[in-house]
């Protein structure tokens, strides 16, 4: 072949061997062996200064190559002592090598010491030695190799950093999960006695009591509900953090919702001698699709805060239509303005962070978990909007957000029946109640008896299973966490027996203080038919019973 063409073609082939992987060892392994074959070499060794520096090599021994073909079976000193001496010599003179390289005869073979740019050394062993023209041509190739090696080292560094970040993230997620589990557990522990307090209060309110006793019972109920709100806030927050909170998307009527929401808030404002006004633009459609309950929660939080932090003046809510929504959708802006204490500019950035209030003195003065705004902000984000704030200290605040809603084509389902006094059922049921907590057991029995149902009790899953085998109740109310045998296992066994013996299906309703979504899924997966979290509203319980045991 024409020598020029041969030179260029070798250069071309070598250049295409470079950079075939971002892992340094793999990249060099894909480069060096075929390069050695192409150049008719016996072996090759590569050092990179950066790798050597990282390993803190002392000058007492020659640094090992970062890649060699063939690989060393021992150390460089034991396998190739003459090469080790020579490399150590170059290392001591700061890796200075005459360009395009130095050829040194060692024990009958020619060792070609060639710089890899400014960052490394390639040693080729070849007999006969390479012509000078090839040394010069190789210099250009080795500059490209230098770039590829540096890219690999950089990649390794980034990979290491990425792995560390991932590990840190995993640890943080584990910690967060542990926290969520802790919150769920604490919530369960609080909800169980709360169920007793609220239920027994309800029970007493249904009985003959004096006016002052009724007033005191009303206060107990209101305090309990306030405590329950706090627990619910903590639960919501832990669900949002764990990513398990999902929004529903059903048709609802905006105006009645707002009316319902603002009526008690207006009373609260009135009690502080504040003016409370709300206004909804006429062009906003009546029926929208979204999560009615969560929208209510956000409005209660924002308006509730406005009333809480305003000592005089007014609280205004404006709901208006924004332009730019796609066909079939509307973009609604909700703005809550107050003339309260306001929020200093330097505190505004943190106001949506959990456990933050503008000032610690505020916590002392006004109370609250500090989670309300965080939850509202997150809920609004999940709805597709963003909660914003404009405020000046002493001048009041405006919290506002835009949320897109689909305009509903279907009417919303009929409104829930309003709270009714406890009425005796027309169809008494034989109910098996499995509940380990004595107070809750007594409460449920009393309420259900009052409603006209017959109740048999079991203190754990095993007793419930036995009672079911003996009496075949119309329905089972099953607590989940019980000693000896939990509600999930009892349900699984009942369902298994039903299937094996072809028995009629007994409806089982979970009654549990576990309020996480995953708990509901577990209950349904075990074969339960419905789920009611404690503390429950007696009307809700009767509704679920009615729904689960339709009259035939």
């Amino acid at each position: 072949m024409n020598p020029t063409l041969e030179l260029v073609s070798v250069q071309y082939a070598l250049a295409l061997l470079i950079g075939q992987d971002l892992d340094l060892r793999i990249m060099l392994r894909k480069f060096l062996p075929p390069a050695l074959k192409l150049l008719n070499c016996r072996s090759g060794y590569i050092w990179l200064h950066q790798s050597i520096a990282q390993k803190n090599q002392d000058n007492a021994s020659a640094p090992p190559p970062c890649y060699s073909y063939p690989s060393l079976r021992g150390t460089l000193e034991t396998d190739l002592p003459h090469l080790a001496t020579q490399v150590q010599h170059f290392a001591k003179q700061d890796w200075f090598i005459k360009k395009p390289g130095e050829i040194i005869s060692i024990q009958g073979s020619y060792y070609h010491f060639m710089p890899i740019g400014d960052n490394g050394l390639l040693v080729l062993v070849r007999d006969p030695p390479l012509p000078n023209t090839y040394m010069l041509a190789l210099g250009l190739v080795l500059k490209r190799l230098e770039t590829a090696c540096l890219a690999c080292l950089q990649h390794a560094y980034l990979e290491e950093a990425r792995k560390e970040a991932l590990q840190a993230k995993e640890m943080a997620e584990k910690a967060s999960k542990a926290k969520s589990e802790f919150l769920a557990m604490i919530s369960h522990e609080i909800r169980t006695p709360m169920n007793g307090i609220i239920g027994l209060t309800d029970l007493m309110l249904y009985s003959e009591v004096s006016a002052s006793q009724r007033e005191h019972l009303g206060m107990i109920k209101s305090s309990s509900n306030a405590l329950l709100d706090i627990i619910n806030e903590i639960l919501d927050f832990s669900r949002i953090e764990a990513g398990t909170l999902t929004l529903s998307n059903t048709p609802f009527q905006l105006r009645p919702l707002l009316q319902d929401t603002f009526t008690p808030l207006a009373l609260r404002a009135q009690s502080k001698h504040l003016m409370f006004q709300w206004e909804i633009a006429a062009d906003i459609p009546d029926t929208l699709e979204g999560d009615e309950g969560r929208l209510r929660q956000v409005m209660i939080n924002l308006v509730g805060n406005a009333i809480k932090f305003t000592e005089r003046g007014e609280v205004n809510v404006t709901i208006s239509l924004q332009s730019g929504a796609p066909n079939g959708q509307v973009c609604v802006q909700f703005a809550v303005r107050d003339t309260g204490i306001g929020i200093p500019p330097d505190k505004q950035a943190n106001i949506f962070q959990p456990f933050q209030q503008a000032d610690s003195s505020i916590t002392r003065r006004y109370g609250g978990t500090g989670l309300g705004l965080t939850i509202s902000s997150q809920l609004i984000t999940m709805m597709g909007g963003r909660l914003r704030l404009a405020s000046d200290t002493g001048e009041g605040s405006i919290f506002y957000f835009n949320v897109p809603f689909t305009v509903a084509t279907q009417p919303p389902p009929s409104a829930k029946p309003t709270q009714q006094p406890l009425q005796r059922t027309e169809r008494p049921l034989n109910i098996l109640l499995a509940e380990d907590n004595a107070i809750n057991r007594m409460l449920a029995v009393r309420l259900l008896n009052k409603a006209g149902h017959h109740v048999k009790v079991a203190e754990n899953g095993q007793e419930a299973l036995h009672a079911w085998e003996q009496t075949r109740p119309d329905v089972i109310l099953m607590d989940v966490q019980m000693p000896i045998m939990d509600g999930l296992e009892a349900t699984t066994r009942i369902r298994s027996q039903e299937q094996n013996q072809q028995l009629t299906h007994t409806p089982i309703i979970a009654l549990t203080a576990n309020a996480m979504n995953s708990d509901r899924e577990q209950c349904l997966a075990a074969g339960m038919d419905n789920f009611l979290s404690k503390p429950f509203n007696v009307q809700d319980l009767l509704e679920v019973l009615k729904h689960s045991c339709p009259s035939t």
């Binding site: 073609s9 062996p33 074959k37 008719n40 063939p70 079976r73």
Partner: protein
């Protein structure tokens, strides 16, 4: 493989029957062999069901292969078996999955490094129709480097249909490599006699042992144009290999050398070779003259015989396609190799699908269309 005072003994059967082979094995055992090297001709048609039971119960280590043709001293056998009884135990190792694109043979070779002492001679037999033989050799050389010497070749059938072709104590094996470590030194001759005829070309597309494009065009089309123009024959009129056997590829090595690659068949305009062809490599189309090839065989024997110690055994791996090319004159090639050997040195060999050898001043390579002659000599301790 060959101990002091006890040279290897050759036993030859020309019937090509399993019984004939079993008789040779019994003869070798009776003669005191500690392990046996078996070469069988493909025309015997040996199958696992015929041999496995006997091989699995054979009491001493057994290794070897089924090759298109085999050589005992100066004689070429197209049918039959050769058993070389060795006066010492041999350790036989296997590396599997020789066509698996995801297999890392460095790991497999590394696992053997503790078992094989430095300065061994590694007789390396492979299934010649496996797709990643060069990758295997790259892994073996990466681990053992120039601390060992290498000789071997590809077993298999000229029908180019993969089938079990390596003999072991586990039976016949396919798609694997067999590595036998011996402690006697080796002196090698490696020659082919082919010369560059057309090119250079760039292999612009290739995977494993298949070339898809040359100079960004269909590999077969480029090859067809060159070969048909020179030979005056057309591929559509003959079997592909009948014409291709005279025009192998040469992988460029610096300063004019080439490593030969035999194109075996045209598969949808892609050319499948014996052994890998790397992408982005420079190749030539080679051509040979009978006299040049025969001259190469003389040079090969002369080089191999430049030994420092008395020779014990001559081991030959000569590419089968050289017989197809040289035809009746191939006997001259074998004679060129056999004649210079001392009378007491047996020549055992195979006409192989690819040859393995370490030229001494380059890395370990997988060759095609090449003669590899290894003279195993006594060690210094044997001489003492």
């Amino acid at each position: 493989m060959c101990a002091r005072h006890l040279p290897a003994q050759l036993f030859v059967d020309q019937s090509g029957t399993p019984e004939g082979l079993f008789q040779l094995l019994d003869n070798a055992l009776a003669a005191g062999a500690q392990s046996v090297f078996v070469l069988a001709a493909d025309a015997n048609g040996f199958t696992p069901s015929q041999l496995d039971k006997h091989l699995q119960t054979f009491p001493i280590p057994i290794f070897g292969g089924i090759f298109p043709e085999i050589i005992a001293n100066g004689e070429i056998l197209q049918r039959g078996s050769i058993v070389c009884g060795l006066p010492m135990l041999s350790e036989v190792y296997h590396i599997e999955h020789l066509s698996d694109p995801d297999e890392d043979y460095f790991q497999a070779a590394e696992a053997l490094s503790a078992l094989i002492p430095p300065h061994s001679t590694l007789v390396t037999l492979v299934d010649g129709l496996s797709k990643r033989i060069a990758a295997l050799l790259e892994g073996i050389y990466e681990v053992f480097g120039d601390s060992c010497q290498y000789i071997g070749g590809g077993a298999g059938s000229l029908s180019f249909k993969p089938k079990p072709c390596l003999l072991s104590n586990q039976g016949l094996r396919v798609d694997c490599a067999q590595i036998i470590a011996i402690q006697q030194p080796l002196n090698l001759g490696i020659e082919h006699g082919w010369h560059k005829f057309a090119g250079p070309f760039f292999v612009t597309g290739a995977y494993e042992n298949t070339i898809t494009t040359i100079d960004y065009q269909s590999a077969f089309e480029i090859y067809r144009q060159v070969v048909e123009a020179d030979s005056g024959k057309r591929f559509q009129d003959v079997e592909f290999f009948d014409l291709a056997k005279s025009y192998p590829f040469g992988l460029e090595r610096l300063n004019g050398d080439v490593v030969v690659r035999d194109p075996l068949f045209n598969n949808d305009n892609k050319l499948t070779c014996v052994g890998e062809v790397p992408a982005n490599h420079i190749i030539y189309i080679l051509k040979g003259e009978a006299d040049d090839l025969l001259a190469a065989s003389r040079t090969c024997a002369a080089t191999a015989m430049q030994v420092q110690a008395p020779p014990l055994l001559a081991l030959l791996f000569d590419c089968i396609s050289r017989t197809l090319f040289l035809e009746t004159r191939f006997a001259e090639e074998i004679n060129n190799i056999h004649a210079p050997l001392p009378e007491n040195v047996p020549l055992v060999g195979a006409l192989s699908l690819g040859e393995i050898a370490d030229a001494g001043h380059t890395c370990l390579e997988f060759f095609n269309k090449t003669i590899v002659l290894g003279i195993i000599t006594q060690t210094e301790s044997t001489l003492a």
